[in-house]
């Protein structure tokens, strides 16, 4: 054991050694250590370099608020976690940690030059400096700043760990497992409530874990904690979550908890989740988040070895580590004397206590004097000295007239400081609760709750142990039952609780040439804050952004109130008037993995496959994503690329027969006596005159008159329509229909059901399709007379009950066979087998080419939310006799008929071979230089194998009046000349479709 480790006591097991590595050097700690306590036990105080000035830094705290001791922990190349607080990293055998923000080494850091150059780097430096020349920002300033900025380095490999998530509900969620939280959980459990108690640390107990003087009911505080935990863990309605940070408080009592499951293990079991994200909806919330000790702002207050008094006490009592051999305490309250007394008792010499108050006559100062410790009152700190560790502190006694009476340099290797406590109101504030300034405690305390929530104990300014526990009991019972029943009480005592506080910089801090730090993590000094006020910033929100105080990963846990006080002092206004910045989630940095949970890789999104998917996969189809669906795009043969395959598939459909999986098409069954009336009101078409057994191409507009979706609608019965939608539009069309049905026309007897997945849809298209299907269908006459284009019939297909629609999106004679989904693959196989050499499976790419040859639009590709039916050349579909339909009134506006609206046209490259780029712009005048006058854009473009030239659809201003004219598609290589032609390139008479 080292000289720094005490011989006994604390929550560590000295018999269990733990080897670990820090910055490549091997050390030894013991079970129960944090990385911070283990480093201190090895005499290592220097743990990092500061963000801006690269000053050497040591541990400031022993907990979540730690601004300096940020480390990267690595298990292997992929398991690298930056920005962990060494005070929260539990030591395990083989732990490998690296300090951050230094180059080349902690002991010698080149960036330290920033500290000497610091007059050049005042607050707002970046805003003011890198303004000129303009081009230098991108090429020079930004890359340099980016390299210098930031904390830690993100791992470059994918995170191999597993992250779990769960939802949970409870009557009472208690955040924080110190005395107050334990008491609240006990009292809530007494009421029979479902309770979740979480604490960010590895064990419950909070401050009691490092307070050997505490007594509860005549026994030690730890005994009470043990008893409480035994009781709680025996209760099946109580869930205890250690190593679990309540990091976010969301509306309506939803809290986010991050449970760390394996980070403390030397060898996490394979497959075990590393973290679990809990989303807890609580009927009531009890916040028992404690308080954080405030540092004292004095010149040179950031040297390694200078730390919070409570932290020194925690390191000693909980971890059995002395933070030095000779310490000075700088305090403004009584509580911190206990730290000095504890260290003194453990053999650390206390060189002096510098008490900022004029008097210190309480029990603890008295005890300190009795122990032979020198107590200086009316003291101030004029500076500190030391390279990589503090070795001297310069104290002064205030003479009462703004000067210093006696100046003294005290040799020391540790300085403990305490400016009182800042209640941790982060979660309360996140819940949108209102804070109120408490003048005696010099702190913001929870005032008005926004949620069903209560703050208890130190986080609402109650510091004495008996009061804290009582507060917890009362709040726990009330949170559980709504009544203020009190079944429990304790007698308790601990050293602390006087609540005295000090804010801002010590007197005469400004006289020193050394920096007085307010925000350790972002290197913000008193001078920076004063500069901000001189520059005219008045609100703390603005000061914060100008100086970046409180904007680091610690969110200013140790700095906010001191900053506020300094700004208020400079502005000569009361603190509440300066305001308080918002607290945001997460309370401490949280891994991305925990937010992602299982939503990664194959489980990132559902992958929807049709009943025939596996067949297509076996045939070597190349798939494309359409929404969540996988659709076969083309079926390459031999060494075919996409263009060859698509050309072959197109020719096969046009000359013989193709088979296509159209199952993803959206399908909505519209049923009820008023079904036709309902569709009349929604779609632009007239449905009353559609006979049973017939189909019609329908267009759905939004109320603003623009095309929203399209699809074939079949009338299956007088009161039943089978409406198809685009693949991507299925859900939103159904939602729109439901909206009108429920909220505008509830009087109609009509209901809607999605049947997209009920049916497998097999499109059989091509001149040979009828012959092929003959013999596979029963009770259906698919002859030209019985089943003309745009009609539907029920019957059996391959023995399976289904329906055959004679529809075509290819321009050929075609059918769409609909069978219940479980039969889809079987029927597909049967049709494919029957087709033998005459049938060719084709994919979405061929489908696109075939439809473009016919000038059929794809909503969302050839329309963009500003296209009317008439713009798309579909005015013929509008039921002219209808008094109203969704969008009709908008279409009546004069501007909707303006001749120069963009209209759908075809484009043919004049050279007969250039394939236009989809999205390319169209110009009337050639040879323009930017900014060009552009009159439209290309919406679809393909090479047409059966026409042996490229084709394109475009939306062009006044396009229909431009037939035969030449337009220009400007590209980087020059203009492409195109001829405006009708959008129907193939079989304009429609003879083939009616075959």
């Amino acid at each position: 054991m080292s000289v720094w480790r005490t011989p006994g006591g604390g929550r560590i097991d000295r018999t269990q050694r733990r080897k670990f590595r820090f910055d490549g050097r091997d050390y030894q700690g013991v079970a129960g250590d944090t990385l911070a306590s283990a480093l201190l036990a090895n005499g290592v105080h220097l743990v990092g370099r500061s963000f801006k000035y690269h000053r050497p830094r040591g541990l400031l705290s022993a907990g979540a608020e730690e601004p300096n001791g940020l480390v990267t922990v690595r298990r292997d190349a992929a398991r690298v976690t930056p920005n962990l607080r060494a005070t929260q990293v539990e030591l395990y055998e083989g732990l490998d940690a690296l300090s951050q923000n230094r180059w080349p080494s902690l002991q010698f850091d080149v960036g330290r030059i920033n500290d000497w150059l610091s007059p050049l780097f005042p607050a707002g430096f970046y805003y003011k400096t890198f303004m000129w020349p303009k081009g230098a920002w991108k090429s020079l300033y930004e890359p340099v700043i980016r390299r210098a900025a930031g904390l830690g380095v993100a791992p470059t490999e994918p995170d191999p760990d597993r992250y779990a998530q769960c939802y949970a509900h409870c009557d009472v969620l208690v955040a924080g497992g110190g005395a107050a939280g334990l008491a609240a959980a006990l009292a809530a459990a007494d009421e029979g409530a479902r309770v979740i108690l979480c604490d960010e640390q590895n064990e419950f107990g909070g401050a009691l874990l490092s307070d050997p003087q505490a007594t509860i009911n005549g026994a030690g505080g730890q005994a009470w904690v043990d008893q409480a935990l035994a009781e709680l863990s025996a209760n099946p309605r109580v869930t205890l979550l250690a190593r679990t940070t309540a990091f976010g408080y969301f509306p309506h009592n939803l809290l986010g908890l991050n449970e760390r499951l394996t980070d403390h293990l030397s060898a996490p079991p394979a497959g075990r989740a590393r973290e679990r994200l809990w989303q807890v909806r609580a009927r009531s919330v009890v916040l028992a988040t404690g308080a954080i000790e405030r540092p004292v702002v004095f010149p040179g207050n950031d040297r390694p070895g200078i730390l919070l008094a409570g932290a020194a006490r925690t390191f000693l009592n909980r971890y059995g580590v002395r933070v030095g051999t000779r310490a000075v305490l700088v305090t403004a309250g009584d509580d911190a004397y206990q730290a000095a007394l504890d260290l003194h008792a453990a053999g650390v010499s206390i060189a002096a206590v510098a008490d900022l108050r004029p008097q210190a006559e309480g029990a603890l100062p008295t005890a300190a004097r009795r122990a032979g410790i020198e107590v200086l009152t009316s003291a101030t700190v004029l500076g500190t000295l030391g390279g990589l560790r503090v070795n001297e502190i310069v104290l002064g006694e205030l003479d009462g007239t703004g000067g210093v009476r006696r100046k003294r340099t005290v040799r020391c290797d540790a300085v403990l400081m305490s400016g009182g406590y800042t209640p941790s109101v982060h979660l309360f504030s996140q819940s949108r609760g209102k804070l109120a300034w408490n003048e005696p405690l010099q702190a913001f305390l929870p005032d008005r709750s926004a949620e069903r929530e209560r703050s208890v104990g130190a986080c609402r300014g109650i510091y004495d142990l008996a009061g804290v526990i009582d507060d917890g009991f009362a709040a726990g019972a009330e949170a559980a039952s709504g009544r203020s029943g009190r079944r429990r009480s304790v007698s308790a005592h601990s050293a602390g609780g006087d609540g005295s506080a000090f804010l801002g910089a010590v007197p005469l801090a400004g006289a020193s040439s050394d920096k007085s730090f307010v925000d350790w993590q972002h290197d913000v000094t008193v001078k920076d804050l004063l500069l901000a006020t001189r520059e005219g910033f008045r609100s703390i929100e603005h000061v914060k952004r100008f100086t970046t105080t409180g904007m680091a990963t610690d969110q200013g846990k140790t700095s906010n109130l001191n900053a506020l006080s300094i700004v208020a002092g400079a502005l000569e206004v009361p603190i509440p008037q300066v305001g308080l910045t918002s607290f945001r989630m997460p309370y401490t940095p949280t891994t991305f993995g925990s937010f992602a949970g299982a939503s990664r890789g194959d489980l990132f999104d559902p992958v929807r496959k049709t009943p025939m998917h596996d067949w297509a996969a076996t045939e070597g189809a190349v798939f494309e994503d359409v929404g969540l669906w996988k659709r076969a795009r083309y079926f390459p043969r031999g060494g075919e690329g996409m263009h060859e395959a698509v050309a072959r598939e197109c020719l096969a459909v046009r000359s013989a027969c193709g088979i296509f999986d159209a199952s993803t098409l959206g399908k909505i069954e519209v049923v009820g006596a008023d079904a036709a009336e309902f569709l009349n009101r929604l779609y632009v078409n007239n449905w009353s005159n559609l006979a049973v057994g017939r189909c019609r191409y329908g267009i759905l507009c939004r109320e603003d008159g623009f095309v929203y979706d399209d699809g074939v609608v079949a009338r299956l019965a007088p009161d039943r329509f089978h409406v198809t939608t685009t693949t991507g539009g299925a859900a939103r069309v159904l939602a729109m229909m439901e909206d009108y049905r429920q909220t505008e026309w509830p009087e109609l007897a009509v209901w809607l059901a999605s049947t997209t997945e009920q049916w497998a849809v097999i499109a059989v298209q091509g001149p040979k399709s009828r012959d092929l299907l003959q013999g596979l269908v029963e009770d259906i006459d698919i002859g030209a007379a019985a089943l003309p284009h745009m009609s539907v019939a029920h019957g059996r297909i391959c023995g399976v009950p289904g329906m055959v629609m004679r529809v075509s999106f290819s321009g050929e004679l075609g059918f769409e066979v609909n069978v219940p989904a479980d039969y889809g693959l079987g029927v597909w196989r049967a049709i494919h087998a029957r087709g033998e050499k005459d049938i060719t499976p084709y994919g979405t790419e061929t489908m696109h080419v075939l439809r473009a040859e016919k000038g059929y639009i794809i909503v969302g590709q050839d329309t963009d939310g500003t296209v009317t039916p008439d713009d798309a050349g579909l005015a013929w579909a509008i039921g002219k006799s209808k008094a109203d339909f969704v969008g009709k009134r908008s279409l009546q506006r004069a501007s909707m008929h303006a001749p120069m609206r963009k209209q759908l046209v075809g484009l043919k490259s004049r050279d007969g071979r250039t394939i236009l780029e989809e999205g390319a712009q169209v110009a009337e005048i050639p040879g323009q230089k930017p900014p060009m006058r552009l009159i439209g854009h290309v919406s679809s473009s393909y090479y047409s194998a059966c026409l042996a030239h490229p084709i394109a659809l475009a939306l062009v201003a006044g396009g229909r009046a431009r037939m035969g004219t030449t337009l220009y598609v400007p590209m980087p290589g020059g203009d492409i000349e195109v001829e405006v032609v009708p959008p129907v390139f193939y079989d304009p008479s429609g003879a083939r479709i009616h075959a």
Binding site: H252, R281, S449, R452, E453, E703, P746, S890
Partner: protein, 102 residues
């Protein structure tokens, strides 16, 4: 994630709902009788309430029903949820959701 009370199913998490914009807008019985200005008012003009706002929600991943809600846009508190067709309730008369002063 808000907790929203569906008038049919009770309290449900926000992920089950879709938002439907301002409530109590009724589609004109005869849009053709409106001039362009009046139609534009119906189509585009919405309030931007700071405070209690009557708005539509749909329990899309639950019972599928649209319903109306009074929500305070500054606090996200729901003063009431009520079925389509019902009159807008008096927010003062209904019990506000969470929050007890302490």
């Amino acid at each position: 994630m808000l907790l929203i009370s569906c008038p049919y199913c009770g309290d449900r998490p926000e992920i089950e709902f879709t938002y439907g914009g301002q409530a109590h807008l009724v589609r004109p019985a005869d849009p053709s009788a409106l001039d362009d200005q009046q139609w534009a008012e119906y189509l585009y003009m919405r309030t931007n309430t700071k405070g209690v706002h009557a708005e539509r929600w749909r329990h899309a991943r639950g019972c599928g029903r649209f319903f109306n809600a009074l929500r305070d846009t500054t606090t996200d508190r729901f003063a009431a949820t009520y079925k389509i067709g019902a009159a807008r309730p008096d927010p003062a008369a209904s019990e506000p959701t969470p929050g007890t002063a302490r």
